[in-house]
Subunit: 278 residues, 2 copies
DNA sequence: CGTGAATTTGAAACAAATCAATTGGTGTGG
DNA sequence: CCACACCAATTGATTTGTTTCAAATTCACG
């Protein structure tokens, strides 16, 4: 399953569609979307013309339902039209490691392509409306509409870059910095969706945040409390209000991996490199 | 740039080609490869028939040369035919975070597709021979040979899954476990390439390993020494000999994120769930 | 062989995990 | 409607793994 980080996709910045209704038009009690709607949802420039004839069906899930499980055969991709989900890996001992919290505009299932089955779990954390993209249909469509192919490359590449950023974060940032970035990214993401960037509701438990960020529940809780005391944010159970986004963004790593190089040469008389710092 | 972990790709397991020479045939002083050769290199079932006519050119790089830089326009993908490389992210302060050590059979550059330029650095750590896959050519070829499209999906999906695994590792494993896995994965990878799985040469510095694994140079060094003292491995500078691969693989996490759930219910009389452990 | 880089090793400092206990919220049943 | 059980979140005390700082050693190379 896909493991989106929460970070807003670069493509997406400044493309607000606060007032736009959810994609999909009703027909025989079911929702369907055109390719164009899908591109808009994904924040990718609209693919070729005259594709209104291609309709993709929606499915709904209720809060708590499992959408994909480890081992499920891969045959279709999903696009989140509305709702909040969670993707996770289950390790050998049954512990879950959260990979991401997909929401509107995210694509699910891409990691199942290469071996033909999914390797992670996805479940709905709220009522969800997803658009189905049967993979074989996608393939046959891309013969007549080559742009679809490019759309897919872009989606997968975007996902790749997102995970790359996540790896960078897990490998180098302190707990404080991780939580700060998480909150800012969530805020940005909510803004994109037309909600308030300032006040929002965490859909997930502290434990899930911890798992996602590679921290324990307690550390997440403590860090959030610290931000609160610091005046950057306000917390009431799962309601967060961001008071000073800049301060949060500025939170860089306290630790750092290769940060010895800053002041090593003092005998040579050379000034320390302007690069490394902490 | 691609950020392969070192882990052997699932597709690739048990497909040894120790005795196979490097791909590519010489022509006018240059090396060229067919699609079939490329598929073999990537460990993907050979794509369609009669594609021998499509030839892809190779390029050579010498040790230390930069292959891709942050900001470079994206226009071609690369496949490693031989040699050892390194991909890394450079943060705002100029610190480098190693993303992977691509080697034979890995594809480079996939993360550049979606925004049209590369976001990471790739450089050669040894003499390297790479196969060029101009992206526009790939696109036009896939019109006549639809299998190419699927090949690309698989490659990208594989990369996605690899990074997913990396995220899982960075988020949950102890330093010891990370280094252990790193060594085992390297060993497996060398075996795939026909080298000894038992004794091999680390191409990278301790610092680079540390950056890759989210640890400091000192921790990597200490951990390797500990394995040595423990009798799992033998170390002489950059030459590693694996004595007890099983012991290394068995090294699980000492820390763990959500591992409190094991023995919580004692009042209910229910046995603890069989799943969670540490 | 000497010089600088890479690696190793030790001791101290520190961030985050662990253990443990409390609080707050939610739902259920008496 | 209150009491109780259950879960999530918070907070504190303590431990531990890893980083940091510092110094010694080995290796690579001109």
């Amino acid at each position: 399953m896909a493991g989106q980080t929460i970070q807003p996709r670069p493509d997406r910045i400044a493309s607000l569609h606060s007032d736009r209704p959810q994609a999909g038009s009703r027909c025989q009690g079911l929702l369907w979307s055109t390719l164009e709607e899908i591109c808009r949802l994904l924040c990718i420039e609209s693919v070729s013309l005259a594709s209104d004839r291609m309709l993709f069906q929606h499915v709904q899930f209720r809060s708590g339902q499992r959408i994909l499980s480890h081992g499920d055969a891969f045959d279709t991709l999903y696009i989140v039209n509305s709702g909040f989900l969670k993707t996770a890996l289950i390790d050998d001992f049954g512990n879950e490691k959260v990979l991401g919290f997909p929401m509107k505009g995210d694509m699910l299932g891409m990691d199942g392509i290469h071996i033909g089955h999914h390797t992670s779990e996805t479940l709905a954390m709220s009522e969800c409306d997803l658009i189905l993209l049967p993979f074989t249909r996608l393939n046959s469509l891309s013969r007549t509409t080559p742009d679809i192919e490019h759309l897919m490359y872009r989606m997968m590449s975007r996902e790749l870059a997102l995970r790359q950023a996540m790896i960078g974060m897990l490998g180098t940032l302190s707990a404080e910095a991780r939580v700060a970035r998480f909150l800012v990214a969530l805020s940005d993401r909510f803004a994109e969706m037309g909600y308030s960037a300032r006040t929002f509701n965490l859909r997930m438990k502290r434990q899930e945040i911890g798992s996602y960020l590679g921290l324990t529940t307690e550390t997440v809780s403590r860090t959030i409390s610290a931000f609160h005391d610091l005046g950057c944010i306000t917390v009431q159970q799962r309601t967060i209000t961001i008071l000073d986004a800049e301060a949060l963004k500025a939170l860089r790593r306290l630790p750092s991996s290769p940060a010895h190089q800053a002041l090593r040469r003092s005998s040579t008389g050379l000034a320390p490199k302007p690069s490394a710092r902490r």
